[in-house]
Structure formats: structure tokens, C-alpha cells
Amino acid sequence: MSTATRSGSKARGADKGGSGGQQALPSREKLLDLYREMLMIRRFEEKAGQLYGMGLIGGFCHLYIGQEAVAVGIQHALTEADSVITGYRDHGHMLVCGMEPRRVMAELTGRATGYSKGKGGSMHMFARDKKFYGGHGIVGAQVPLGSGIAFAHKYRGDGGLCVAYMGDGAVNQGQVYESFNMASLWQLPVLYVIENNRYGMGTSVQRAAAGPALCERGHAYGIPGHQVDGMDVVAVLEKAKEITGEIRAGKGPVILEAMTYRYRGHSMSDPAKYRTKEEVQEMREKHDPIEQLKRRMIEGKAATEEQLKELDKEVRGIVNDAARFSQDSPEPDAAELWTDVLVEA
């Protein structure tokens, strides 16, 4: 998904990220792309949940269902020069970075054909050619790493920037602030995206984070912060285009807080007693990113029901193929136990 900054949209009026809701829609093709990619993540994650239930995926498996609009919207504001890094809720980011569903799924099942040869699993996949830097299991660790990748962009002068994603829980880690300080001091081309899905495991943002909105957390370092409706993919895209424009112009780091929601438990074993069913139901019914876009496209005559049904079929086909591939692939060779500890010098 490459140089995608030029969409059909001329409107910049609805700057308040999604609250206006009246911005002119991007082109029909762009909308279909956004829709298709969100759907791909949704179906992929549903399948992953299913395979987990069957015991084919082990360990931790953190699904991105509900948050699709964030990674998809941001990615469409990026160019091929840009890099991405995130935490462990990472399948969606991988797919939008252009990583193959087959090989992502095969990593989930721990097979030789997976992105990490089966050695990393759900939380640890990487693709240098897509400038996707993982896939990290320690909450917050990706934030200094992403700042370092931005440092390398600036050092080389390659015009790229780095998007470093983090959760609303991760934002309380000390290394996040050490990163903010350096990034601002050195004007690094980094976009910090806080995916605020309201909970870090079973702890709501209100119980974990003091102070005003999380997007303000960079103010002490002179880093501008924005908030956007993370359930509205068009709003995310528009906001991201504006912000990445500023970063590309050399103005240094920016924080974007995307207000989003995860429908499933934190990981597979979370009984999710810390929130009400009504809360989840309300988000699903009224704010679902895929349904919202679908409605807008049909109302705006950008697509027909049949067309979208066809698309769903196609996406399911790709996901089923990935699932099959991930089960038919062999486990890694025993010799792989000893490889990749160090590079042969």
C-alpha cells in the first residue's frame, strides 16, 4: 500500500478529526481500499481466534478486532520511505504494511513458512522490505526503538518518517518520556500514535493515567498532540495526512491519539469482567469502523451491497487460504533451534 497521499479529497474543513463527519469522501477507489483492508484484518483476526480455540495457535494472541480503522487510516498517509513499529497487538499493522496473510498466519501456528520461521509467534514478526520493525512484547519498548528508526531516517536524509504505535497503557512507561524528550530535542521525524482503546488489560485509562488527555503527554517537551476518532477510518486518514505533512516538513515529532476500542478480551484468556456487555455492544453497533464506512459508501453511492458482499467473499477466500497454508506448512526444522542467535561474522 504505497504512496497513497493523493486521494480525491479536497476538503480540509473537518479538521477536528471525525467530529464534523462531513468531510468530502476520498475517491471511490480509495474508499474501497480502506474498506477492503479493514475487512481483511477483521476476517483474519476472527480466523486467528478460531485457530487459537482449536489449539493450533498457542501462547498469547492479541486480536485487533475493533481497532482496524487506526492502522488502515494511518498507513494510507504513508509512503514507501516510511517505517512502522508497534507492540504485540500487531497482526493488523503487518497486514496493512503489505505482509502476506499466509506467512503471518503461518507464524501464528508456529510453522517454518512463517515470517520468523515459527520462532517468534504472534508478538514477534518483522519484514525489513516493508519497513515493518515488529512486533514487540515488552510494553513500551517499541517507543524508543521507533524513535531510533526515525533517527536513522533523519541521519540518512531519506525523507522517511517512523510511525511508533503504543497503547493507552504503554503510555505510562518511563521510556516513552525519555523518547519524547530526545525526539523533540533532535527534531526526529516520528509520529507517535497512541491507540487509546480505553483499557490496558483490565485497567481503564482513568485508573492508570493521571492528567488530561493522553495526546497532551508531549506538551512538556514541545510536542504537539492531536486526537482523532479512531473508529472512523476517513477521519484517521485525513488527520494523518495533515500531521505527516508537518513531520515531513521537518517540524519534528507529533503525537496522535486515536480513540478506539477493542471488542475482544485483552488476549485469549481474558474474561473481560472490567467492562459491561452494554459498553461493548454499543461500540459494536454504533461505532464499528467497517459498518460505518459501509453505510457511508452505500449512501454516497460509492458501492453497492452486492459489490461489498463480493468483496467479503474474496477476503474470506484469502483468509481461508492463509489458514490452510498455516496448517499445511511443516514445523520448523530441528536445526533451526540453533540458528539466528548471532549473525556469522
Binding site: E46, G49, Q50, Y52, G53, M54, G55, G58, G59, F60, G110, R111, S116, K117, G118, K119, G120, G121, M123, H124, H136, G137, I138, V139, G140, G169, A170, N172, Q173, G174, G200, M201, G202, T203, R207, A208, A209, Y263, G265, M268, S269, P271, A272, K273, Y274, R284, E331, P332, A334, E336, L337, W338, V341
Partner: protein
């Protein structure tokens, strides 16, 4: 064909569960995402959501069923244009395709979570009940899990001493990520059972400060992997201050949480830190195996005036043992325990590896080798006396640990044997350890990377010069 709904695995270590309740009834329509049933694991009650849409055609496993194996068909879902007639063929087939017979042995159902996982290997059929010299004759024993024993230890100490408090991620409202602090918030309230933000370096340091000021914090790390964020405060502030202050200021604090590999959670979440902390003067390091030791040692750790590193194991949390019913059962720090007597070879282990060592000893016994198994329990200060005494008798030592071999617990034991038991050794000390690689995710590689019973058996035979 109706779609089979299978008993799902709901956690990394779940192999079976109870079907608590059907939320949807036969004949009801379900949409993808609808909750159809509730399933109980030993940690929690979880909701099962439908993946596909359709009509719940037939329930195959009634509510109230216990010990339902993962992947057993529990219901049949009819698609858009299927009617009930489609059920008959499928239902007849369904039970035949159960991966495990329904009459799976009951003893098996009591196995620890993950006991049958690739990573875990098998536990002995019955939990060996080691002799308990600290317990007076005739004491009543109660069966409880390691999880409950740890919780009881904290609760008892919190009742005795108001300066003891518990702090960590998800310890209060969520009742602990692994449910170890279940019920503590209810009993002791928010003042003493405190949920922290995800900020390990910060709350570990805050805990040390509170300890310096005279409180007795129990700091829970969700897992020890995350304590690497806090390493500086643990070593530089907690371990060294007393010495640097010439005895003027120190801190009583317990850092605790699950240590070591769980089940397929990959390299960043699967590490044994025993030797890391064992290396550092100014700390005590404890790693119990049984529920009784977990309880007695945690009580001792909380009372200890020093920083104590308390290493638990997720695979043991659900494992049951006999625990003495005593008002104040405290196991002294610094004492190893002989959990099986033997005269041919000494095998040492700690935490989960004691289970492996005991299994290996059973296998060895069949081959005429009587192994003496020592549960180290405390790694610092190490009870060299007990180990040396055993080696004087067996003349051989096999050290078992889950951590990496280089500069590991076994390396230290080998050195101690050379220094203190050289003349009694009939063979070089053997080390069984995790492989010298970050822990891989793939099931086959993970199993290869972790010490297995066969590895211990082989090492014991080697030092006994047996084929």
C-alpha cells in the same frame, strides 16, 4: 453440513474446562460475535462467542459438564439454508471424532493446567508428597493449589502486620493476572492492595522507597520478564543500599511473580531469572516448588528485613499439594529439602524443575538407579551443606535448571562441589539446563529448548557410568 462448534482453548495453558452454561438454546439464531456459552477454566469463567452465523441446531455437551477436552465438538450450528434434518448425519459422527475419549481418566483431569502441553511435558501421576520435617507429628494436611497457598501467605501476613501491602499490575480489581491475589482487595481494601499503571521501573523504585521508610511492600511483577525494566531499582537501590549505608538504611521488600517459561509465549516472555538474581549480594532469592513451601517461604520472605526475590512458576499455580493446617507455618529461607532419598546420584532442581527431577528419579529407579532429589528452594543463600552432604553419599551430582547453562545455577553448583566435595566426586558434575538460545515459539522447538525428563535421566546415567 452443519458446522461443529468445538470446545475452545481459552488460554495458553488450558487443555480442558467445564461447560458452565449455554446462553443460546437449541433452535435459536446466532450472529457472529454472539455469546453462546460460558466456560469455566481454573482461572476464570469465559464467554464463548460464535464465529459463524446460523442457528444453534443441537447441543452435544450439556451445561454442567466437567472436564470437557479442548476441541471436543460441543454443538452443531446450522447454516443459512440448512434445516434440522442435516443434524442427524453429523451428530452421529461427531462423538466419534473427539480427539480424546470422553472417559479420560479422572486423575488426568486433576493435572495442572498445561501439564500436557509440549512445553510442560508430563507431571508425575500423583504429586509426590515430600516429607515435611518442619511440621509437628499429627498435623492436619489440607490440599490446595500453589496459587491458593501464595494468596493465603499474603493474606495471613497482611492480617498480622499493617505495614505489609501489595502493589502491582492488575493485582486488585482484576484479582491478579494469574489470579494469585484473588480476594485480597475485598479483604484489605484499596489502601493495601494497589493496582499500578504499567510502569515497572517506577513502581519497583517506589516500593523500595516505601520499604526504606519502614513499610513492607510486596511488589508483584505480572511476570519476571517485565522486571528487567525494574532491574536497576532492584539491584542498585534495593540490594546495595544497606551496605553503602554502613547498615544505616535498608529495605524489607518482596518482589514476586511467575518466572520461567509458561507455554509458547516466546522469547521475551519466557525466561528463568534465577541465576541473574542469585549473582547479586544484598538479595535473598527463593524459588519454591510445592504449595507448602510456597506458603511458608512467602511468609518468611515478607517478614525478612531484606529484599527478597520470590520466583514463582505459572505452570505450578494450578498444581495441588498437601499444606499443613497451622496457624503460622513459616519455612526458613536458606534451607534446601531432600524430596526423595537415594544413594546413587544426587539431582538438584528448583521450582518446576523439581517435578522433572522427581519424574526422572522414578524412571531411574526402574533401571536400578536410586536418585536423591534435592529441592534447592532457596538459591541465595544456597544451602551448600545439604547438597555437599548428599554428594558425599552419592558421589555424583546432576543439576537441573530451566535457565541458560552459561554462568547458570549449575555452574555455581559445579564450582561449589569442586571447592567443597572434590574428594568425594566420582564423576564430573553434570548440568541439565535450557538450551543456550532465546526460547522459540514453535511447539517442537520449544520442547527441545527446555529440559525434559529424558535429559535428566541421561545425565544421571552418564555420571553413574551406565548405558
Amino acid at each position: 453440513m452443519p458446522t461443529e462448534i468445538l470446545m475452545p482453548a481459552l488460554s495458553p495453558t488450558m487443555t480442558e474446562g467445564n461447560l458452565a452454561r449455554w446462553v443460546k438454546k437449541e433452535g435459536e439464531k446466532v450472529a457472529a460475535g454472539d455469546v453462546i456459552a460460558e466456560i469455566e477454566t481454573d482461572k476464570a469463567t469465559m464467554e464463548v462467542e460464535a464465529v459463524d452465523e446460523g442457528t444453534l441446531g443441537r447441543i452435544l455437551v450439556p451445561e454442567g459438564s466437567e472436564g470437557v477436552q479442548v476441541n471436543t465438538p460441543i454443538a452443531l450450528l446450522l447454516g443459512e439454508d440448512e434445516d434440522a434434518a442435516a443434524l442427524d448425519g453429523a451428530a452421529a459422527e461427531a462423538p466419534a471424532r473427539r480427539p480424546e475419549p470422553a472417559e479420560a481418566p479422572k486423575a488426568e483431569a486433576k493435572q495442572p493446567e498445561g501439564g500436557k502441553e509440549a512445553a510442560g511435558g508430563a507431571f508425575p501421576a500423583t504429586t509426590p508428597a515430600p516429607p515435611e520435617p518442619e511440621v509437628p507429628e499429627g498435623t492436619e494436611m489440607v490440599r490446595m493449589t500453589v496459587r491458593e497457598a501464595l494468596r493465603d501467605a499474603m493474606a495471613e501476613e497482611m492480617r498480622r502486620d499493617d505495614t505489609v501491602f501489595l502493589m502491582g499490575e492488575e493485582v486488585a480489581q482484576y484479582q491478579g493476572a494469574y489470579k494469585v491475589s484473588q480476594g485480597l482487595l475485598d479483604e484489605f481494601g484499596e489502601r493495601r492492595v494497589i493496582d499500578t499503571p504499567i510502569t515497572e521501573h517506577g513502581f519497583a523504585g517506589l516500593g523500595v522507597g516505601a520499604g526504606m521508610a519502614g513499610l513492607r511492600p510486596i511488589v508483584e511483577f505480572m511476570t519476571w520478564n517485565f522486571a528487567m525494566q525494574a532491574m536497576d531499582q532492584i539491584i542498585n537501590s534495593a540490594a546495595k543500599t544497606l551496605y553503602m549505608a554502613g547498615g544505616e538504611l535498608g529495605c524489607s521488600i518482596v518482589f514476586r511473580g511467575p518466572n520461567g517459561a509458561a507455554s509458547r509465549v516466546a522469547a521475551q516472555h519466557s525466561q528463568d531469572y534465577a541465576s541473574w538474581y542469585m549473582h547479586c549480594p544484598g538479595l535473598k532469592v527463593v524459588a519454591p516448588y510445592s504449595a507448602a513451601d510456597a506458603k511458608g517461604l512467602l511468609k518468611a520472605a515478607i517478614r525478612d528485613p531484606n529484599p527478597v526475590i520470590f520466583l514463582e512458576n505459572e505452570m505450578l499455580y494450578g498444581q495441588s499439594f498437601e499444606v499443613p493446617r497451622l496457624d503460622d507455618f513459616v519455612v526458613p529461607i536458606g534451607k534446601a529439602k531432600i524430596v526423595r532419598e537415594g544413594r546413587h546420584v544426587t539431582i538438584t532442581g528448583y521450582s518446576l524443575m523439581v517435578a522433572r527431577a522427581l519424574e526422572a528419579a522414578a524412571v531411574l529407579a526402574e533401571q536400578g538407579i536410586e536418585a536423591e532429589v534435592i529441592d534447592l528452594r532457596t538459591l541465595r543463600p544456597l544451602d551448600t551443606e545439604t547438597i555437599v552432604e548428599s554428594v558425599r553419599k552419592t558421589n555424583r551430582l546432576v543439576s537441573v535448571e530451566e535457565g541458560w547453562p552459561v554462568a547458570g545455577v549449575g555452574s555455581e553448583l559445579a564450582a561449589v562441589m569442586m571447592e567443597q566435595a572434590f574428594d568425594w566426586l566420582d564423576a564430573p558434575v553434570a548440568r541439565v539446563a535450557g538450551k543456550d538460545v532465546p526460547l522459540p515459539y514453535a511447539a517442537n522447538l520449544e520442547k527441545m529448548a527446555l529440559p525434559q525428563v529424558e535429559d535428566i535421566v541421561e545425565a544421571a546415567k552418564t555420571v553413574c557410568y551406565r548405558k
